[in-house]
């Protein structure tokens, strides 16, 4: 029972890390989109 709960916590942590990876990619993409937009408007 304890092992099962422990495994769930490991899994939860793993999923959290994957989610953070996805969010960080989305953030960098948003930033990149803004940079491209600003540069194109400056041309």
């Amino acid at each position: 029972m304890k092992t099962k709960k422990l495994n769930e916590k490991y899994k939860w942590y793993m999923q959290s890390l994957e989610l953070i990876q996805e969010i960080s990619k989305a953030l960098l993409e948003e930033n990149d989109k803004l940079l491209r937009s600003l540069r194109s408007q400056l041309k």
Binding site: I23, S24, L28
Partner: protein, 158 residues
Amino acid sequence: MGRSLNKTNLRKSLDYLIQLLIVFAGVYAAFFLDDVKTQQRNQQKRIQIYHSLLKQAEQDSIEMSQAFSMLDSVVITPYLTAYEKGLMPTLKPIFLGSAAYSTRTWEAILATGGLDVLDLKLIEDMEAYYLQVHNLIDRMKKMEMLCIQQLLPNFDKD
């Protein structure tokens, strides 16, 4: 005598009309030049604003990249690699560090009347960007807090 007076009056009237036209042309030219100067000033201001926003976005990009890269190399990749191998790796706090963004430049632009010279598209782009980034960072911070406050202290508990 009467005809000569009429001629003189006509000439005077023409002179007045010409003077009036000259004054109008002068005033119009002054307004036109002023308008051109204002447009030039606005264009310069617009370019300065774009450069400031670009600089700020580049700075945000560097700081976010560094923070995510650090988090990835120290916490995420080692954990995920070990987890995939079926190991029970140590859980580390999810530390986002300097993963942030700054609205200072945008706020300063709004406060100094920059909106008057900006295109609507840029204003919409900036507002959408800050809203999206704010929501994403907020989600990350919540994950960070959940991990530090809930998961890690209670990890060995039932």
